[in-house]
């Protein structure tokens, strides 16, 4: 496999009509890594991917592949594979010809094209569909063709633009595992764009969280999950309770906070002093029922298999989300507590 040791994005910026879609992305991708670009729609993640692929010219900054500058090359000279959200399969070509297209563009000998196409077909288990047109395949099969078409060239980098967003929930889980398996067995380097935090956490070695074209945090799944850098990342990482509060006292890393009808102890993210306005982030699964906690009123109870998701209201009228083992009735008064280590306090 032709590859690089590292791919470096240096202050990559892209403007659309005077507005920054991507404002200065700097990132080094090492060979063999699986990077996820994560963020809500409009955060610049697809822009970043298109800039990498060469489908969008940069407004500023540069991209370097080891020592060679890459951002001045057209997409066909970069040798990256790309899987599009809509799959973008050629509708007039059979599955086999779709997969062979890139190999033919490289003018490889005919038997090598055949051999590698066969390999790619069996890799995604589509041998018996080789002669069909893309329109005759199901969504999941089309998805697999798109992946095979991108990886058959053994590209130095595979770019995936929300490849699972058009699949149903069950298939999405299957394909997710499939993508990670291919990444490992083929030794690919992958940049994967998604708005789904679960997908990003489960697939990637490193995540880049983007918001409004800016990088909010770069880190491993554990980093982001356990130590989100700010409330926006926390929001994305499943801290569903983000409650505006005020700092009462600071004891080292532990701060006492009050507000939204709750009094809690939490862990400070960044320097804080008494009187500061803060946001306390708590995952629903870290907010427990019982003990000598704060009283709240149950409003909505949702059955979720092993546990129940409860939305309750504090005395000040703010909504809190928690998990419960037994089913409380709407209108019940319960008390809630959270361990200080599981409550993150962000400056607001």
């Amino acid at each position: 496999m032709t590859g690089f040791d590292e791919l470096r994005l240096d202050g990559v910026r892209r403007r659309f009509g005077g507005q920054d879609a991507l404002a200065g992305l700097s990132l080094t991708i090492r060979r063999g890594e699986f990077i996820a670009l994560l963020g809500p729609s409009g955060c610049g993640k697809s822009t970043a991917l298109n800039c990498l692929a060469g489908l969008l010219p940069l407004s500023e900054g540069s991209i370097w592949q080891d020592g060679a500058r890459l951002d001045t090359l057209p997409p066909e000279k970069r040798g990256f594979g790309m899987v599009f959200q809509s799959y973008a399969l050629f509708p007039h070509l059979s599955v086999r010809k779709n997969i062979a297209f890139g190999l033919q563009m490289r003018r490889l000998p005919r038997d090598e094209v055949r051999r590698r196409t066969d390999q790619a077909l069996s890799l995604v288990r589509l041998e018996e569909h080789a002669k069909k047109l893309p329109g005759q395949l199901s969504g999941g099969q089309q998805q697999r063709v798109a992946i095979a078409r991108a990886v058959v060239l053994e590209p130095s980098l595979v770019l995936m633009d929300e490849p699972l967003s058009n699949l149903d929930a069950k298939l999405r889980l299957e394909m997710r595992t499939e993508i990670r398996r291919l990444h490992q067995t083929l030794g690919l380097t992958t940049v994967y764009v998604t708005h789904d935090q679960e997908e990003a956490l489960s697939l990637a070695d490193r995540l880049v969280v983007l918001r409004d074209g800016r990088v909010e945090q770069i880190g491993t799944p554990e980093d982001l999950h356990e130590r989100p850098a700010n409330r926006h990342v926390a929001d994305f990482m499943g801290y569903r309770n983000l409650l505006p509060m005020k700092v009462k006292a600071v004891h080292g890393p532990v701060v006492a906070v009050e507000g939204s009808g709750l009094t809690l102890e939490g862990t400070a993210v960044g320097p804080l002093s008494p009187g500061d306005d803060v946001v306390a982030g708590i995952r629903p699964e870290d907010l427990h029922e019982g003990g000598s906690g704060v009283p709240v009123t149950v409003e909505v109870v949702e059955y979720q298999g092993r546990e129940l998701a409860v939305e309750a209201r504090t005395q000040s009228g703010d909504a809190v989300h928690l998990r419960a083992a037994t089913r409380p009735a709407p209108g019940d008064q319960i008390t809630v507590t959270a361990a200080p280590a599981r409550v993150l306090v962000f400056p607001s």
């Binding site: 599009f84 399969l89 050629f90 509708p91």
Partner: protein, 293 residues
């Protein structure tokens, strides 16, 4: 079951097969088609088989026996086929360039479409003045001794067909092109296809059925050329097209039967060309092209 219930059930079953009150909406259109198209058309065909002399096929025999009449088919084809091909071929690169969004697209489209609204007579008038022996075109070519003759012959009619046929071809092809998902070319680019290969291997095959349809329409338009063949052509000689022959037979000689027969021959020739092109088109991929079109 009561009678009302039975009636309702029958109505429901009929509606499932598309028989319901909405069918009445078809009546006005159908009546117009019958009165204004089907009846005159059938009447004309009938007329062509009732010549004053020579039996049922007398008019057709008269047309094909006379070389002066017969040759109008070749004359018309020699004008309309190249004109239709040129219109389609010239539209493709322009429409390809204009398929995206850019500043001034509307203005450019308007300029290209204006000839449709002007009509053939005004175009012919303009051609006569511009390309004629004393027109601007020949005055610019002051270095040639003899003025180049571009009107009142084949070329005058040819130019007129291009000018009036191009906008049709262009608009149709532009809409076919915008029906092709632009992501497909982007995907081809990431697979290593250069500009030329992307066009040849992806866009052109997806566009080809549209080109065939466009060709048929512009060809039929050009084949029935009449005003420009008279005004900027040489209606007695090199541009004596088949519609002139039909007009001459029906309204100058008052042989309605021959006139109708020529019109039928004209239709058959058009149908043959269209059938060949559509037959070839059916060999192509004609399914979804993924775009918004």
């Amino acid at each position: 079951m009561t009678r009302t219930q039975t009636r309702l059930a029958v109505r429901h079953r009929l509606a499932e097969r598309g028989v319901d009150r909405q069918l009445w909406l078809l009546v006005p259109g159908l009546a117009c088609v019958l009165a204004l198209f089907v009846y005159p058309f059938a009447y004309g065909i009938g007329l062509s088989f009732q010549p004053a002399e020579g039996g049922v096929f007398g008019a057709y025999r008269a047309f094909f026996a006379d070389a002066y009449q017969r040759d109008t088919i070749a004359t018309t084809l020699s004008l309309s086929l190249p004109a239709a091909i040129l219109n389609v071929a010239a539209s493709v690169p322009i429409a390809y360039r204009m398929r995206g969004r850019f500043r001034g697209k509307r203005l450019l489209t308007t300029v290209l479409v204006v000839p449709i609204t002007l009509g053939t007579v005004l175009t012919a008038e303009g051609l006569l003045n511009y390309l004629g022996p004393a027109g601007w075109f020949n005055r610019l070519l002051f270095f040639v001794d003899e003025p180049i003759r571009l009107t009142n012959n084949y070329w005058g009619v040819f130019f007129s067909l291009v000018i009036t046929g191009f906008p049709f071809a262009f608009l149709l092809i532009l809409s076919y092109l915008s029906g092709i998902d632009p992501t497909l070319e982007r995907a081809a680019a990431t697979l290593g296809a250069g500009r030329r290969q992307r066009f040849q291997r992806i866009t052109l095959p997806l566009l080809a059925p549209g080109l065939a349809t466009t060709f048929c329409l512009t060809f039929v338009l050009a084949f029935s050329v009449f005003p420009s063949a008279v005004l900027v052509g040489d209606p007695a000689g090199t541009t004596r097209v088949i519609s002139i022959a039909a007009y001459h037979a029906a309204y100058e000689v008052y042989d309605y039967s021959l006139g109708s027969a020529i019109a039928v021959v004209m239709g058959v020739v058009e149908l043959l060309v269209v059938a060949i092109v559509l037959g070839l088109r059916s060999l192509l991929y004609t399914g979804s092209t993924g775009g918004k079109g």
